[in-house]
Symmetry: C2
Amino acid sequence: MPSHPQSSDSDLPRAGLGATLAARLVASIRAGDFKPGDRLPTEMQLVERFSVSRAVVREAIARLKTDGFVESRQGSGAFVSAKPGLANFRIANQLAAADLAHVFELRGVIEVGMAELAAQRRSKADIAALDAAFMQMQQALEGGQDGADADDAFHAAIATAAHNPYLAQFAAFLAQHFSATRAVTWQPEARASGSTLAAQAEHLDLVKAILRGDAEAAGFAARRHVANAAARYQAAQKKKG
Amino acid sequence: MPSHPQSSDSDLPRAGLGATLAARLVASIRAGDFKPGDRLPTEMQLVERFSVSRAVVREAIARLKTDGFVESRQGSGAFVSAKPGLANFRIANQLAAADLAHVFELRGVIEVGMAELAAQRRSKADIAALDAAFMQMQQALEGGQDGADADDAFHAAIATAAHNPYLAQFAAFLAQHFSATRAVTWQPEARASGSTLAAQAEHLDLVKAILRGDAEAAGFAARRHVANAAARYQAAQKKKG
DNA sequence: GCTGGAAATTTGTCTGACAACCTGACAAAT
DNA sequence: ATTTGTCAGGTTGTCAGACAAATTTCCAGC
């Protein structure tokens, strides 16, 4: 058994009929088949059209309701919301290269803002956590170990130092989609090419700017770090593919 | 019938049993009653504990699945996800004053980033849309009409000019929570105090910076505009409450 | 034309049943 | 002793039918 849990298709539960139908209905709404205010087909019509039971249809519609795509009224029907899909913000699990670049850019905007705020608001405890994460990465760099976890902790420490829970939560949300890119930084190929060293140098610039409370420099360092991380990841992808 | 749709409690559908149970289970997970990896009570146990039918329990769990709180496996049970609630980003409908300030800050970070990118990437069509929205606000300002819609269009035009769909979608998501604050800018009280005029002056700075492609100035103008908007809104709240 | 109420329609909830799947225990074979 | 096969029980997934609750439609009656 591999030590790293492999996320193959078999170990994650297959999508049931309800989830599948929900996805199809969302696609229909996004495609414009149903516009805001329109009434969806009745449950019985959906039962006949998709050859499933009413329980499946109701599960699908329940999912659409939690995602804010539709609102249903007893006795009347289910109606597409005024702002379908805007009740929450979501990013697809699999992203094309062009989309990934855009998400990288979004992440950059957030990281820059957090770095600036962290420089203005950092407490002694924030500095201690930031320093600890940085030193852990340094040890991983010198010892040839995996510093991905310390890298996570480093960025989390910056988010904490910004003292804005919404900003931190959104950064954590975005970070999920970058586990692969963070892993690249600490792979043997990256060490050989000097990418890991370069990334750590960028981390140092960021730490120093935050320590001395220089918001402008912190923002600049964060901007450069994310931009370079994106470049390094895309270069690694090109080399591999 | 009022021209502005009033969102009273009566016209939006009451939460059903399924939605209620889902909310309670989410609260339990957030409170730590169930930790990541834990197995939820079986559907039959939930049926007995909450005195509802299995259909209601299944609707609640279906909602938890779409929100990424749990994953269920046929024959085994429903398990709390590793990162519960991080599958999507969501903001509560009703925010306390302190939370609203934080969300304002998050919005500011996004607006600054979009303004910078818009200055770098604006096309002729972007400029035309931006100009049209600004002129519409100007007319509303001079004619004493409501410019809230034009205000929306103005910020949407900046989002479009940034040429990043994820950034734009997130900005639109955030904008939903600021309809009240944008309305404040165009109320008679704001006109009397000069707030509306000040806001429009800030809009002009923003437009000019984007037109001449000055990213730094655009970012600065956006930062100032959002900060002032927050201050104006909080002042109006204090005056009213 | 308008009103009132019955009838039809639609979603919400309950109940029972079976299928698909997983888990653990036990027996059998190696 | 370890592995393998089998079985029984439990759990989620799906189906079917029924009734309750709320809305909409329609028509008789004025």
